[in-house]
């Protein structure tokens, strides 16, 4: 048999976009933003190691910060092996709606491609939105990739608006409670593992019964690629030290 060179076009692993969406409003000042900076930074090597185990997905990471307005910390998605965390500062109000608007712009096709894996969005917030977030959240959740995204929220402290965060995740279980630094670190670490779970998915029937959780049509079943049985129990983490 003659060994012939494989014909055809350019091959590529499937892109997996992982986006940290971080509340940098004034109420995050001090220990909260410091913990976020430290915890996310510490997850990067673990995410990179996990990504190496699956060369068929290209993990692309970026950060969106919001306070008075919102902005991308990195202008383009960065491969996890090249990703470096830039410490964030806190100050200003909580323009969550602006953040949703900027997310929606990036989850549109293009710049997203239709062959990507479901993106992972991790929102961290400790407060109430100060702008009109509903319209931009609605737009985000009605985008094809907005619906399919794995959406996780980390509710920091007791002043966070869990109802708003639940509107984002579409699933109360995916609003992770972090009422102290230890819990925040654990929740960030758990959220970071979503990348590896999404990166090696098996195909499944659309709207299969066990995935048909959402009551809201905009809510996605994509989060259920996650193993929610191992979400850290917030009540067992540093209960004596509450924000």
């Amino acid at each position: 048999m003659a060994n012939l060179k494989r014909p055809g076009g350019e091959l590529a692993s499937r892109p997996l976009h992982f986006i940290w969406v971080v509340d940098c409003s004034g109420s995050m000042y001090g220990e909260k933003i410091g913990t976020v900076n430290h915890a996310i930074q510490s997850t990067i090597p673990e995410m990179a190691d996990a990504a190496k185990d699956n060369p068929n997905a290209q993990l692309l990471v970026r950060t969106l910060k919001f306070s008075t307005g919102a902005s991308w910390v990195t202008t383009a998605p960065v491969p996890i092996e090249d990703f470096a965390w830039d410490d964030l500062d806190a100050g200003g109000v909580t323009d969550l709606g602006k953040a949703f608007e900027m997310l929606a712009a990036q989850l549109t096709i293009p710049p997203m491609t239709d062959r990507a894996l479901p993106p992972v969005l991790v929102l961290l917030s400790d407060g109430q939105p100060t702008d009109d977030y509903k319209k931009s959240l609605d737009k985000l959740l009605h985008l094809p990739w907005g619906k399919k995204a794995v959406r996780i929220a980390i509710s920091i402290g007791q002043d966070a608006d869990d109802d708003v965060l639940e509107q984002f995740t579409g699933n109360r279980e995916l609003v992770l409670q972090a009422n102290n630094p230890q819990a925040l670190v654990k929740m960030i670490k758990w959220a970071s593992t979503a990348a590896s779970m999404v990166s090696a998915p098996a195909s499944r029937p659309k709207d299969a019964e066990e995935f048909a959780v959402p009551k809201d049509p905009s809510a996605s079943n994509a989060p259920l690629v996650l193993d929610m049985n191992n979400i850290p129990d917030p009540t067992s983490i540093g209960a004596g030290d509450v924000w």
Binding site: L4, P7, R204, D207, A208
Partner: protein, 293 residues
């Protein structure tokens, strides 16, 4: 005109890493008069579908069986068959495939003495059984004057010829990792069918390909995927069907490894003029797919 029909399934790179079997199946049937029936099925790999390999085997057998029976029933009256397929392809034919698959799944399930859960009213929960065998299904009937294509779930059916590439039918594209499935209730409603008058002799050499979604998903873009299908045709023209068939497993494995990591199946029907000598003769024949293996 001569024709070659061949295909291969390979275990995906990510399935090799995880020790998961290839859940794709394919079947080819060449009738005495040269009519060809092709089918590819891609079993879902999710944990809730542990028997999807059997589901995909049964699916390709069902398609070939239903279409062959139909074809024989029309006894060579292609115009009447075309009219029937045009009118009933996405209703009666799709319903027949859906029903036959579910019937055979239940037979297989009972034969293996697998558990059947009960509904609250005490009846057997049939849907929970079907779900364990979930699969997609692609099918193509190629006659002298037309082709009939069937698609339920993801994958691609292409027609490549010297003037370029055409998608035989345009399936609904679902983002992410979900797909339509034969395991769903009224699955036939999600089937897409198409009948096209194509006389392959008019534009030889030509090629039809059926591929599971792991193939297209391994390319950087849809354009790259289309380019690849045309390149496969050129490769057969240049090196012969046998050479391409021999190399196909390694090409598909490399494609999965450098691409999306999924199982890949490629099934090809190639047509060329008798005037062009074949590099290495190959006779197409029916591939039997045991369902209960």
């Amino acid at each position: 005109m001569r024709q070659n029909v061949f295909g291969r399934s390979v275990q995906g790179a990510s399935h090799i890493r995880s020790g998961t079997e290839c859940q794709d199946s394919y079947k080819k049937k060449v009738c005495d008069d040269g009519t060809i029936i092709l089918s590819v099925a891609d079993g879902h790999g999710s944990k809730s579908c542990p028997f999807s390999k059997q589901g995909s085997k049964i699916a390709v057998n069902v398609f070939c069986s239903v279409i062959e029976n139909l074809y024989e029933g029309y006894a060579g009256n292609l115009e009447q068959l075309l009219t029937y397929l045009n009118r009933e392809g996405d209703t009666r034919i799709s319903k027949a495939i859906d029903a036959e698959w579910k019937k055979r799944i239940m037979e297989c399930h009972k034969k293996h003495k697998r558990e059947i859960s009960s509904l609250e009213n005490g009846e057997e929960d049939l849907m929970s059984v079907y779900k364990q065998y979930g699969t997609t299904l692609l099918g193509l009937l190629i006659t002298k004057t037309f082709v009939f294509a069937f698609q339920l779930g993801d994958g691609d059916i292409c027609y490549a010829h010297e003037d370029g590439l055409e998608m035989v039918i345009e399936p609904e594209k679902i983002l992410g990792i979900e797909t339509h499935s034969l395991s769903r209730e009224n699955a036939w409603e999600k089937a897409i069918t198409g009948v096209r008058r194509i006389n392959v002799e008019d534009s030889l050499p030509a090629m039809f390909s059926l591929s599971s979604d792991g193939f297209a998903n391994s390319y950087k873009s849809e354009d790259e995927f289309h380019t690849t299908i045309i390149d496969y045709l050129k490769m057969i023209n240049e090196h012969g069907a046998k050479a391409v068939e021999d190399n196909l497993p390694s090409w598909l494995s490399e494609t999965s490894s450098m691409g999306c990591g999924d199982d890949i199946t490629m099934l090809i029907a190639y047509f060329a003029s008798d005037a062009i000598p074949e590099t290495s003769p190959e006779t197409a024949e029916e591939s039997e797919v045991p369902e209960n293996g």
